[in-house]
Structures are given as structure tokens and as C-alpha cells.
């Protein structure tokens, strides 16, 4: 199973769990005015940038294009960490601000060299920082008080540093999805949060075609309410 398929499976499972538990939840905490801190790990999907050939202008009498070498680039899926601080404005509605840090690998396959150089996959590691604001709606039913499904949506500022930190690009990101919180013990101050969704961002100015990317993402976190 590929990384993208694993993320997709996680999203399907999360969505199913949200639907199954949406009518049975009934946690009593947190309440309006509660603060919630979340810290955990995140997995962000990758995307293809695509092929691009290094070409020479052909001389008269030369048939076809002259390719010095071919390339095919992509950004690979990557793990990362996240931290969020949120406040409940009502028992169901919370606003969160957060930071997500990931280090995806930008890789380029190089092949078909005109002078038969060995094929190679060249890489660079990116550092991505996402500063985001998210609205979260919790489904608080009359069922199991230890589970609390939710949906979320928001946007953020994405700052990406290429290897060496000298090249920086930034942009706006939007995200949406769903998940569930499980509360530990009777106090329900500690819990586990799992969520999955999609993240959309404009294409990088350093890609051949500046396309909007929609990328799957999933995370698991520890939650502390205070």
C-alpha cells in the first residue's frame, strides 16, 4: 500500500468513525471558556510536479528534439509535528491557532542522459511551517461521553524554506476535515485526538506549472483541557 493509499484509508476510517459516533457522543467537558492544548504528529501527503526535459535547439537535418536529459520531480509525503492552542466559545464550537512543522523531500529523477550518465534521484529537504487558524465544531450528543467527533475548517500562512534556508517561498493554505477526540479517565482533561482531511495550497512559483495542490493530511495528538 502506497503512502497516499495509507492516508486515504486513514481518512475513510476517520470519516466512518465520525459518522458512527456523531449521534452517540455526549462529553460534558470541555465547556464554554475552556482552553485546549494539542500536541502531536502529523502526516502530510505529497504531490507530483511532473516531467521536464533539458532540451537543445536542433540543427537543420536533425530529426526530433535533442534531449540532454529528462527529469521528473515530486514532493514526497512527510511526517511532522504540530501544536495547537484553542478556546471553546461554546460547548461545541472552538477556535484554534496552531503551528505545523514538516520536512518534505523534493526529489527529481534524472534519466536518459545524452552522454549516458548514470540515472540518479537528486533530493533536497524542505522545511515547511504552517501557521493556521481553525474553526472546530464538535458533535456533542447523548451517547458515550468519552468520545467527541468534530469537523474543522480553516486557513493559514505557509512558509517554506529550501535546503540551505536561503530560498524562501510562502503562500496561503486552506484545510478542512473531520476527526474524533477520546477522553481519558473521569476528569476528561486528557485525551487523544485523531483527524484527517485535505489541505489546499497554491502551487509553488518554482514549479513549471503553478497549480493549486490538494493534499491529504492526517494527525494524531494528545489533548489537554484546562
Amino acid at each position: 500500500m502506497s503512502a497516499t493509499e495509507r492516508v486515504s484509508a486513514f481518512l475513510v476510517a476517520s470519516a466512518a468513525f465520525v459518522l458512527l459516533t456523531a449521534t452517540s457522543a455526549g462529553a460534558q467537558v470541555p465547556t464554554a471558556g475552556s482552553w485546549e492544548f494539542t500536541g502531536g504528529v502529523v502526516y502530510v501527503g505529497g504531490f507530483d510536479i511532473g516531467p521536464l526535459a533539458a532540451e537543445l535547439t536542433p540543427n537543420s537535418g536533425t530529426t526530433g528534439r535533442i534531449t540532454l536529459f529528462d527529469t521528473d520531480s515530486r514532493v514526497k509525503p512527510s511526517p511532522g509535528v504540530l501544536a495547537k492552542i484553542g478556546v471553546f466559545l461554546s460547548p461545541s464550537f472552538a477556535l484554534e491557532g496552531g503551528l505545523r512543522y514538516t520536512r518534505p523531500v523534493f526529489e527529481t529523477d534524472i534519466s536518459g542522459d545524452f552522454e549516458e550518465a548514470d540515472d540518479l534521484t537528486a533530493e533536497q529537504t524542505l522545511s515547511q511551517y504552517l501557521f493556521d487558524v481553525t474553526a472546530v465544531w464538535h458533535f456533542r450528543g447523548s451517547g458515550d461521553a468519552r468520545t467527541m467527533p468534530f469537523v474543522y475548517g480553516g486557513g493559514g500562512y505557509l512558509r517554506e524554506l529550501h535546503e540551505g534556508n536561503a530560498l524562501v517561498e510562502d503562500g496561503i493554505e486552506f484545510h478542512a476535515g473531520g476527526g474524533v477526540k477520546w477522553w481519558f479517565g473521569a476528569s476528561a482533561r486528557w485525551g487523544f485526538r485523531a483527524q484527517g482531511g485535505i489541505s489546499a495550497r497554491d502551487g509553488s512559483e518554482f514549479e513549471p506549472e503553478k497549480k493549486r495542490r490538494v493534499i491529504p493530511e492526517a494527525s494524531g495528538s494528545i489533548v489537554w483541557v484546562f
Binding site: E55, P58, N59, F69, F106, E207
Partner: protein, 332 residues
């Protein structure tokens, strides 16, 4: 100031020489042992045209064509150059007379040279004081708008030679094949490649990224310095520097190719004029080339290594440089 006449081995040949990739500035050793780029200090540069006709090209047609070729270079937005046509003269284009002259000249002794550029320089500063370009009239020439398959295109060759006139040397960004009597270009991605395209081909009327980077490196605007970046590093083989390696930077965003050479005893290279963003680096030897198309005869070039890609994607910053790249090559 000391005036010195320099005739550099800068020719556009119809059959002979190199494969590979990149721009190179003309340099000369000046007083004190320093190497400086040859460049003009005062603009517009005044040039004259020899009042000589050849078959199918009148002096007037020749002048209009070379003026277009000059303007091709002057149109580069990231460089500041200009010139003006000062008039027709009877003098041939190969005298050190204080006037820059372009024109036809019969050179049967140079039966593989389409055209050549010579300079008079101030050898204390590297300033170009005069530059002449001759077009060898033993070859058939054309100024036809769409080219003439039986003749060489004056404008294409003029763009190449005016690149030298302004201070650029040869690029190695091209591939050739051996044929009886010399080499034939298969493809090139720089007007400054030392071997001309075949008769009738007019591709070299247009500058490529490598040419634009080269002229911008010599006469760059503030915007060029601000908006473009560079890659520097060294080429090594078994831990020892490789001199004369040709290094090409390929933008994975634009697909543009720009090259440079490892020019010193430490195997160091700098490629400037790069768009910000990720680049792939490729090092190759000048192993089947007439090396004097690029370097002086006493310049030692290591050609015993395999074409090699750098294992990292290099991020070029805007207005800065990606440094300390080391491309490790292996012997053939």
C-alpha cells in the same frame, strides 16, 4: 594605460570542435597578474561597416543585419548595453586603427572559420577599446528573412560574433557528432556555442538563457543583481580538484540551461544569472573538443571523468548564492 592588440581564438567554425554546455567571459591577464573580464566601459559603442558587397549581400543589407544583431543583445532586459552605427568605411575589419569595424574579408587561409572577432584592449584595466569582426567572404552568405539553405545566415553569425565583441567567450552548451572533415552540431542551447549551425539555419538569431545570463553577468542591471542568483562550488575526482570541467545548471521550474566551467586550480566554478528555485547540476568533460575554443593553449583541462549529476537539488536564492557544492566525479 597600455594598448594591446589581442586576437583571440574566437571563431564560428563551419565544421570542427566541441560538444557540451555554458557561457564564459573573456579574460586577460593584466598588470599585476590579475585576470579581469574584457568589457566596454563607455556606451553607446560606435561601430563602422566596411563598404564591401559580396554575392547576394550588399554592404547596406549587411549593415542593416548587423544592426539587428546588435539590437538583439541590447534588448536583454537584465543587461545595459547600447551601440550606434557610425557609418560606412573603406577600411577592412582587421586593423588596429581605433575604430570598431565589421565587414566582409576574404580569408582563404581560414577555410573553416566563418567569422572572427579581435580586440584592442587596455591591458591595465581590461577595457575594450576597439573590436573588429570579419565575416569570411570565401563562404556563401545570406540575409534572407527565412534563411537560404545554400548559404550561411549573416544575422545568426553576427549575433554570435557580437557576443564576443561585447566580451563573451564560447559556451559549451551543445552536442556534436563526428563526420568526415570535422564535427557537426546536433543541437545547441547557446548562440555562443563555437560551432555554427548548418547553412540556412536561422535559430541563432535568438539568444538563449545561457547567452542572456552571460551578458547580464558582464553588464547586469540592478534588477539582475537583485532578482537572480548563483551556484558556486567545486568539481573533484578522488578528492582532488578537476580543472576545466563543464558544469550545467538546469532549472526544474523553467527548463533553462546555463553553464560554467571550473576555472582554477581548486576546481572551483561559479554559475551566475540563475532564476531563483531548484536546479539540477551536471558536470561533463570537454573530451572531444578543440579546447582552444574555450581556453588558452596552456590551460590544463582534465577530461578523464564521466558525466556526473550532483546528488542534491540545489536551491538558488533570489539575489544570493548557493555555495559549497561539491560534484564528485569518477574516472572513465
Amino acid at each position: 594605460m597600455t594598448r594591446r592588440r589581442v586576437v583571440l581564438a574566437i571563431v564560428a567554425v563551419c565544421a570542427l570542435t566541441v560538444p557540451a554546455s555554458a557561457y564564459l567571459k573573456l579574460g586577460t591577464v593584466v598588470v599585476g597578474g590579475r585576470t579581469m573580464s574584457l568589457r566596454w566601459q563607455d556606451f553607446p559603442i560606435s561601430y563602422f561597416v566596411t563598404n564591401t558587397d559580396v554575392a547576394q549581400v550588399s554592404a547596406t543589407q549587411f549593415q542593416a543585419t548587423v544592426t539587428r544583431a546588435f539590437n538583439t543583445w541590447h534588448a536583454v532586459e537584465t543587461a545595459e548595453t547600447s551601440s550606434r552605427f557610425a557609418g560606412f568605411v573603406a577600411a577592412p575589419p582587421n586593423r588596429s586603427d581605433g575604430a570598431s569595424v565589421l565587414g566582409f574579408l576574404s580569408r582563404p587561409d581560414q577555410d573553416r572559420t566563418l567569422a572572427a572577432t579581435s580586440f584592442t584592449i587596455d591591458d591595465t584595466t581590461g577595457e575594450i577599446l576597439e573590436s573588429d569582426i570579419y565575416f569570411n567572404s570565401i563562404f556563401p552568405w545570406s540575409t534572407a528573412e527565412a534563411g537560404n539553405t545554400e548559404r550561411f545566415d549573416v544575422e545568426s553569425i553576427a549575433v554570435h560574433e557580437i557576443g564576443h565583441f561585447l566580451g563573451l567567450s564560447h559556451s559549451a552548451l551543445g552536442e556534436t557528432e563526428l563526420q568526415p572533415g570535422g564535427r557537426r552540431v546536433i543541437g545547441a542551447e547557446s548562440v555562443m556555442f563555437p560551432i555554427a549551425f548548418s547553412r540556412g539555419n536561422i535559430s541563432d538569431r535568438q539568444l538563449r538563457a545561457d547567452d542572456i545570463a552571460g551578458i547580464s553577468d558582464l553588464y547586469g542591471t540592478r534588477a539582475f543583481t537583485r532578482d537572480f542568483g548563483s551556484i558556486s562550488g567545486r568539481v573533484t575526482k578522488n578528492g582532488r580538484p578537476v580543472k576545466g570541467a563543464h558544469v550545467v545548471a538546469f532549472s526544474t521550474q523553467s527548463g533553462k540551461l546555463i553553464g560554467g566551467f571550473s576555472l582554477n586550480d581548486d576546481g572551483e566554478f561559479v554559475i551566475a544569472g540563475l532564476q531563483p528555485g531548484p536546479h539540477i547540476l551536471r558536470a561533463e568533460p570537454l573530451d572531444d573538443a578543440d579546447l582552444t575554443s574555450f581556453f588558452d593553449e596552456d590551460f590544463e583541462v582534465d577530461v578523464d571523468f564521466r558525466v556526473t549529476f550532483y546528488e542534491r537539488v540545489v536551491a538558488v536564492p533570489r539575489g544570493g548564492g548557493a555555495n559549497d557544492v561539491e560534484i564528485k566525479v569518477t574516472s572513465k
